[in-house]
């Protein structure tokens, strides 16, 4: 299988590659349109800031390329947020694959529970659906690091509760996305990556 991880100005792309290697898969990290389009599976990872990353994707025309992909695509963390229509982070129009806005978490006014932003650490995925998740993954813990979230909508594939119930995974047609980091989520994350690669 030919797996391509989209290379762009985002941090920690290598950790996705390491996770695939641990599962016994090889993958190529590339920004070459021909290589990306020819892949069987495309992973669009991301750690970074939305508006500068979108600017980069537009300048390199990776934006049009990603929207037009027909094979299974997995967006991770910032990758998922960039696949939405708009992000409050830098107030920027994004790829618009999912018709959802990305908003910043707001702390509760009294904040008696000392809730912190970013949402960082292990939390559960609930109401899981789509072939990314098998039923055994319901309520299992995965690793999150983010300050912006996507509300629940028609494309929600899993939900997580932090300050409010939001979309921790999305799916529409061939596009899959997780707000959490499967590549850092222990054996649960490895199952999710395997499920994606078996699509």
């Amino acid at each position: 299988m030919n797996i391509v991880i989209i290379k762009y100005n985002a941090g920690n792309i290598r950790s996705v590659l390491n996770a695939l290697n641990r599962l016994g898969y090889e993958a190529e990290i590339s920004a070459d349109p021909e290589i990306i389009e020819a892949a069987d599976k495309v992973i669009f990872p991301g750690v970074g800031e939305a508006s500068t990353t979108m600017e980069y994707l537009r300048r390199t025309e990776l934006d049009k390329l990603i929207i037009g992909l027909k094979q299974p695509v997995l967006g991770i963390c910032l990758g998922m947020q960039l696949m939405c229509s708009w992000s409050e982070e830098g107030a920027v129009d994004c790829l618009g694959i999912f018709d959802e806005k990305v908003c910043k978490f707001q702390l509760p006014v009294d904040n008696q529970d000392n809730i912190k932003i970013p949402h960082m650490g292990w939390n559960t995925i609930n109401n899981v659906k789509t072939s990314l998740f098998d039923a055994s993954l319901e309520a299992s813990y995965v690793y999150f690091v983010h300050s912006f979230y996507v509300a629940i909508g028609p494309d929600t594939a899993a939900t997580t509760n932090y300050i409010l119930e939001y979309s921790s995974a999305l799916q529409k047609d061939n596009f899959y996305a997780t707000q959490f980091h499967p590549e850092k989520s222990g054996s649960v994350g490895e199952s999710i990556l395997s499920n994606f690669l078996k699509l």
Partner: protein, 251 residues
Amino acid sequence: MLAKRIIPCLDIKNGQTVKGVKFLEIKEVGDPVELGALYAEQGADELVFLDITATHEGRKTFVDLVRRIARNINIPFTVGGGISELSDADALLNAGADKISVNSSAVRNPQLINDLARNFGSQFVVAAIDAKHQHGDDWVVTVNGGRIPTDKKLFSWAKEAEDRGAGEILFTSMDHDGVKTGFANEALAKLSDELSIPLIASGGAGAMEHFKDVFTNGKADAGLAASIFHFKEIPIPQLKKYLREQGIVVR
């Protein structure tokens, strides 16, 4: 619900895991990758690897080690020790580190936190603070493994680190470290109230109850410890089971 995190810390010298008592006597305890993988399998939520090697040769060894850790471990890990420039952080990011921690270098050059956060994002930057209790609310920040007191105070420096862009604060009480009588819960609770970023508590873990206390009275988001895990005094699965029974949300 977000789980409270248990974080084993591995001190690394010349590529080996070591643990000192009160930062002095050093004992070797094994291969960091093997030990890290074992902890990950046992349910550790994150790992911290601190390079306590001072030499240039040792630094290169550490970057190679980080690359090996990233290939073999499937949970997030932080690396720290000797990071004083963007290029140090960049090398560790490229080697696969999820976060870096800065301590003495940030005290000497606070702008480093801003630069790291701007270049790599706040989620990548842990501000580690070693402090020694004076009296009341007065904690003085120390550098060089607790040996040198500075003119900075714990609470104001932690807040400043947050304002400069740190994504987490790792507070080690020099009075509690290695003593195994519990964490500095009073200071931790005050820090947690004042900060809006996650707080990792370090120094003083000696029994399972200490973790319960640090998550309740200490209001910490994560508890870090070394020797109790390295010397198998508290197995992680048993600790997690105990915390769950005490009503603390853990993975």
